[in-house]
Every structure is written in structure tokens, then in C-alpha cells.
Symmetry: C2
Subunit: 335 residues, 2 copies
């Protein structure tokens, strides 16, 4: 077992990234304990805010909240998003009023988070500051940073017979249509004006390891990488960059990453995603890549592109399995 | 029984006014039915917005909502405010975050109303328009108008040893302190800039009867009367103005009107409230006044001031009793 790095930076979407972080922290608490139940390793998470949405007048940050609730032990274990023991009274009432959207799963407990966030944003605080304040309660054990304090929301270009070609909010595509409308492309509205949030570039440059967990490579990791300056920081950091494939055996581990990849003409394979990220030695984003053991045959092909690749079990079936993945990622990237 | 008036205008606070309106509508449906379960009499309610409050970033209109929910059969029968079958998940969560105020009873169903209102106001709609839109769902059977579209919130001047003399929001005084901190006075912040909402002056001038129901004469009816122009309209309308005493046997029928009256050096009696309103024939606001039978001895004193007065049962114990009160008010004022 290698010694644990002092600093780790993780780019994260929602459920996949959050589950990986649970395993990462479990591993770090074991190999680098702080003596108080935590870890001495400083973990910084750069969270995707591309799927943020203003709904019913409140600002919802699904990925930041999934990370925060998951690490703070407030997540619904059954759903993987939103709060345990949630009620949906407000949502039902909004529907009774006939107010759209009715398809967004706005829980009552969750709403408290959004109310605080919205009021704080409207009072002039940044999303970085608000996120830190919310984390005061949840104590996620990581420093959770939004990728940007500017609004830059992912929209999906779709085409239907009755409504023609149009761009809809990512959440509408993802939740209402369950990614079943073929996506012709993704557009992040506002991304040109977005800047990395304070601390984001520093977290990439001044770290011992950057990890791309098995989050959606297009709308989660991909959204973060679109913030001007972030991809360049990853290309140029002195720290190694390791990714874990979100695709196992030609299917997403969870979620609907295949529908996103198809829109970009990327095959739903561990190989195609690795080549999409590309080797840092060749102007790309990663040095090392982990594929699942059932994709072991792809190792040679990926390595040809200049990405060191290893096949290990990549199913996050429980915390121990996920901790083992995190241990392997650290070991492989820093060895 | 006199024939029913074609138009009635009622100034209303929350619970007391709302209960009176239930009885008024029951009476009018009986004596002036429209053949579809309603009444041909057009009832306009001018609702108090002086106890409105922005809380956790949303605009709450307690009195408008109490009228709307009560007449729309969505009110909690047990509490008299808020929604039947309410949950308080968001409220509990806000408290768990340590965000003040924690004393405001923000229900989850109720929150849906506030979210719609807040988003609509922030989109540029007026409170009049928003209230009409909300009433589309509740079908209260009246035209519900806010007294003003400008923000003018009642504050209470209190003095405590540890915090000295200060003005706190009416809701804080009413709910958090249950009106137990002696009020030195009431100040409506913003009232000088407030105008009657569209339709309010017309509803007072172009009507057959104005009713002051047994709402709080200081912070409900009194707040409405402070909007520049409204008291003058009541003084000058050609319609008769009748009031029902909120004080029965030297105590408020419900609520804490005594604490409000004391602050204005007004006795908690049916007589004192009548004289506070004053006779229209003498520059005051009412022509006629109903007191409870147990206050029958006060009739002569009140009549001396120029206010026609009658003693009838004034306890709103059920809809029938309240309908009888409304019938008497109409009969007495228009005879």
C-alpha cells in the first residue's frame, strides 16, 4: 500500500461521483487517519453546476447537493438523490395549482436547502460561500467547491415532429424525458462568461492527485471541463490525473451516459471515453485510466494512446468495494 | 327579511374575517342564489396585507391566504390558519440549518402558495394579479383584493430590559411572543408610499353595503384603514357601513385584540371599539354597529355617539350562527 497523498482533488457530478467519494474517504480514513474519525488528506471536490436549475423561483444545485447529502449522511439511500424520509407536499400543491414544471422532484426537506441558497444568493453571497455555509451543517469531510459562480446551464438540442428542433434544459431532458429524446448536442448557456469559482484552479494546480471519478463524462465531468480555464489547468498541473471508467462492459454503471455519449458520436465503451479524455502526454486530460476487469481486453488499445491503463473491479457495490477502487486509483496514479 | 344587496364589500383580516365571510356567503347563497350553488350578490373582500412578511425569501400574506383557504375549503379546521393535512418538513429543516426565524409556521403545502406568489411578484406581476391567479384554484366565491400592492408591514414598538426599545415585525410579536410583550404602539413601515390596490376604492364607493366584520380593529381593519385614501372612501361612500364588534363581554372573540387595543389606550369593550371607529355622521367610519346580546347595556351609550346599534348573538360558533349574524348586519344596515 502506497502512503496516502496529502491533497486530492476530485471532479464530481452527482450520484456516481458522490458514491466514489464515500469510498475514497473511507479509504483515506483508514490509511491516513486524523485520529478523530476523519483523514489528514485534504480532499477538494469540484462539483458540476451545469445541471443547476431555477425552478419555482429557487436555485437547485442537484450535483452539489447530492455530494453534500451523501457525504453528510442525509441522502435517500433508495433513490440516491434527495433526502431520506422526504415528503413532497409542496410539489403536489404546485401541481394542484397547475404550475409547471410538474416533473421536477422538489422535496420539502430539500426545499429548505434551496430556500437558504436562493435567499443567500439574492443577498449577494456567491454560490461558493453559500455552499460552504450549507456544508457547515452537513460536514461532508471534503471542501466542496462549485465549478463556477456564474450561471452556465446545460441545454440539450432535441428535435420532435410536433415541436421541431429546440434546446431544452438538461433537467427536462434527463427527468421528464428520461434521456429518451435523441440528443443532437449539448449547449451550456452562459459558459463563455463563466469563470472557475475561487479555489478551483488552485485545487487543480496545488494538489498531489486529480481524480475523474466514474461520473458522466459528457454532462458532469464534461460540463466542468467546459468552464474556461479548467481543462487547461488539468492539462498543465504537475499532479497526476487518473480517471475511472463510468462505462463497464459497454454500458453505463448507472444513469444514462450512453444517451449523452451517442450525441457526441462517442461509443459507449471504456475505451472510447478514455480516448475522449485523451492522454495528457498528447494534449489530453488524463495520465492513467482504470477499466473494469470485464473490459481488460481494452487495456492494450487505451495504452497505445499514451494513457496508462489497468483493469480492476469497478462496480461500486458497497463502501468496501468503492474504497478498494479509490485505493487502486491512488496507487496506480502515484506509483 | 330584506332582499339581498347586489354588491357587498367587506374589509377583512384573517381568521375572524374569514369565518364571517363563510357565514355571509352561506346567507347570500340562500337569499340570493345564482342557481349554481353560489350567490348573485357580488362580494368583494379587501384583505389586510399589513401582516405580510418576507420569510426565508418568500412572500407570505397570512390574511389573504386565510381568507382564500377558508373560503376554498383548504384551511386547517383545527388551527384556523394554514392548510389541512399540512406537513412541516421544510420548516424543521430550516431550523436544523439554524436559520432564523424558526418561530414562523411555514407549512410545506402553504409554501407552494408562497413560492408561486414570490416568483410571480419577482416576474413583475402585482399582488392583485397574483392573488387573482391563486384564487383561480381556490374559487373562494368572492373577489379578493389586497388592500395595497405596495409593501407596508405592521411593526410593533416594544421595550425589554435586555434589548431596550425597538420595533419588531408584527408576526414576531404575534407568533413568537404571543402578544405578551407590551406594545407601545404600531408603525406601518412603508404606509406613506402605499396606495390602495386597483379596485379597492371602487369597491368601497360602488357598492350597496360596506361591512367591517369582527376582525382585529387595530392590526387588521386598522391596517387597511391606514392605506392613504381608504378611510376617506369609507367616510364618503353612499353605501351604509356596518361593523360587528370583535369584542364580546370585554374580551376578544378570538385572537389577542386586547393587547392591540391597550397599546392605543382603547378599552377592550364593544363600546370603545365602536367609538374608536366613530359615527360617519360625525366624521367617523360606521353608520351601524352590532354588539353581542351580553353587551346589550352598551347600546344606548354607543347610539349617543350617532351610531345605530343593535345587540344580537355575535359568537361565530358555526356556519348557521355566523350566517344569522351576516343576515342581521345586512338587515340592520340597509333597513
Amino acid at each position: 500500500m502506497t502512503s496516502a497523498p496529502a491533497r486530492v482533488t476530485v471532479l464530481s457530478g452527482g450520484i456516481g461521483g458522490a458514491r466514489f467519494l464515500v469510498g475514497l474517504l473511507a479509504h483515506l480514513r483508514q490509511v491516513n487517519p486524523d485520529g478523530q474519525g476523519g483523514t489528514l488528506t485534504a480532499v477538494t471536490v469540484i462539483g458540476n453546476t451545469g445541471d443547476d436549475i431555477w425552478v419555482h423561483g429557487v436555485r437547485v444545485c442537484p450535483d452539489l447537493d447530492t455530494v453534500m447529502y451523501t457525504l453528510g449522511d442525509g441522502i435517500s439511500r433508495e433513490r440516491g438523490w434527495g433526502r431520506e424520509g422526504e415528503t413532497f407536499s409542496a410539489k403536489d400543491e404546485l401541481a394542484a395549482y397547475g404550475v409547471e414544471p410538474t416533473w421536477f422532484g422538489l422535496g420539502d426537506k430539500d426545499l429548505a436547502t434551496h430556500l437558504i441558497r436562493t435567499q443567500s444568493l439574492q443577498s449577494g453571497f456567491t454560490l461558493t460561500e453559500v455552499t460552504a455555509a450549507l456544508c457547515d451543517r452537513w460536514q461532508p469531510g471534503v471542501t466542496l467547491l462549485p465549478m463556477s459562480n456564474e450561471r452556465a446551464e446545460t441545454h440539450v438540442v432535441v428535435e420532435t415532429e410536433d415541436e421541431g428542433r429546440r434546446a431544452i434544459h438538461f433537467q427536462e431532458w434527463w427527468i421528464r424525458y428520461r434521456a429518451s429524446l435523441p440528443a443532437q448536442g449539448f449547449v451550456m448557456v452562459g459558459i463563455d462568461e463563466a469563470k472557475p469559482a475561487p479555489g478551483v484552479l488552485e485545487a487543480i494546480h496545488d494538489t498531489d492527485l486529480v481524480i475523474l471519478p466514474p461520473s458522466n463524462p459528457v454532462v458532469s465531468i464534461g460540463a466542468i471541463l467546459q468552464v474556461p480555464g479548467i481543462a487547461e489547468a488539468i492539462r498543465t498541473t504537475k499532479a497526476p490525473v487518473v480517471g475511472l471508467s463510468p462505462i463497464v462492459g459497454d454500458a453505463p454503471v448507472r444513469g444514462m451516459a450512453d444517451a449523452c455519449l451517442t450525441a457526441l458520436n462517442i461509443e459507449t465503451t471504456a475505451t472510447a471515453v478514455a480516448l475522449h479524455y485523451g492522454a495528457r502526454s498528447n494534449g489530453g486530460l488524463i495520465d492513467a485510466w482504470l477499466v473494469d476487469t470485464q473490459d481488460a481486453l481494452s487495456v492494450a488499445v487505451i495504452e497505445e494512446s499514451g494513457i496508462r491503463t489497468r483493469a480492476i473491479p469497478l462496480m461500486m457495490t458497497d463502501v468496501d468495494a468503492t474504497a478498494a477502487m479509490a485505493a487502486q486509483a491512488i496507487d496506480f496514479a502515484t506509483s
